[in-house]
Symmetry: C2
């Protein structure tokens, strides 16, 4: 058993806090890797709300969801995750949300997540976390604009009140190419 | 289930790489918390080699080991962990080693681990790690001298060749008082 990388560990952290019937958010659908993972965790009685601004990515993910029989519990939205707040009622509980920050691998590398919209989405989600609920951010910073977003997200997380949230940082520190690292915000 | 702190997570990482019959090192015995944990993991056929420069701490740990029937598989040494190399034969395999950097809680706060001796010990242990073997450092940096040791250990870890080792950093980033964080060096 080797130490898992940030992406693998994100799934471990999601598995620990998401179960059948839960509502969860995939803030960056992309290739649908997390969407499908979450759809399996919440099951037929649960709900995955997905966001992506790239229609092609959503189409491909929707096709995979249909093929795997997971389409019923997933709603994909062709809009930025900064609009997540408009889709939630005040009392909606979000067991977990996941963000993959950066660009879509294999897609247009100029389409990247950005600090303002990322943090708008995180702030909108925080009031919906139950105790033990988690917002997971897998942070890629090797691309233009990446370091700025990384620093903004870390700065925001470091200032979250420790009586209400704990924020974990997990990542490898001896790799030459900037590997992704993980931030996990957990409601106490 | 809440996100575990660095100390708790260190035991998870040790459990994953240590089993019955293994030889392991507790580089900072202190109150014997890790020593007893490791003695249980390696069992009667294994071997825990412990170091501490404070005889009182060793005496107390030895007493606990005797009371819990774990004394047979543990050897405690009243010397600094920088001497670990002198106790190992070239082919000895160390499944894991654990360091708690800082001072002994409840003890003399002027007796602290130091960068030079800590890194001497880590360097002496590295050649003895099998694939999947881990050196775990729980780093406290809230005391005088702590930041210097923290920086030296991080700098050393960041430079370890990524083809041979991966180094994980794990810790909470939104706590006002300097909480310990964890570094795990794993032999690939």
């Amino acid at each position: 058993m080797n130490l898992p990388n940030a992406l693998t560990y994100s799934h471990t952290l999601l598995t620990e806090c998401v179960g059948p019937g839960d509502t969860v958010v995939d803030a960056t659908v992309g290739q649908g890797y997390d969407t499908i993972f979450l759809a399996n965790l919440v099951g037929k009685s649960g709900h995955v709300i997905g966001f992506d601004i790239q229609q092609a990515a959503l189409d491909e993910t929707q096709q995979q969801l249909t093929l795997t029989g997971l389409g019923a519990q997933v709603d994909l939205h062709a809009t930025g995750h900064e609009n997540v707040g408009t889709l939630l009622a005040p009392n909606d509980r979000i067991a977990a949300a996941v963000f993959n920050l950066g660009y879509l691998p294999g897609g247009d590398k100029s389409v990247i997540t950005r600090p303002a919209t990322t943090l708008t989405a995180v702030k909108a989600l925080l009031p919906h976390l139950p105790r033990g609920g988690r917002i997971i951010l897998v942070v890629y910073a090797g691309h233009p604009g990446g370091p700025t977003e990384r620093d903004a997200v870390i700065d925001f997380c470091q200032k979250l009140p420790q009586k209400i949230y704990q924020v974990l940082r997990y990542g490898f520190i001896n790799q030459i190419h900037t590997p992704p690292f993980l931030l996990a915000i957990e409601r106490r």
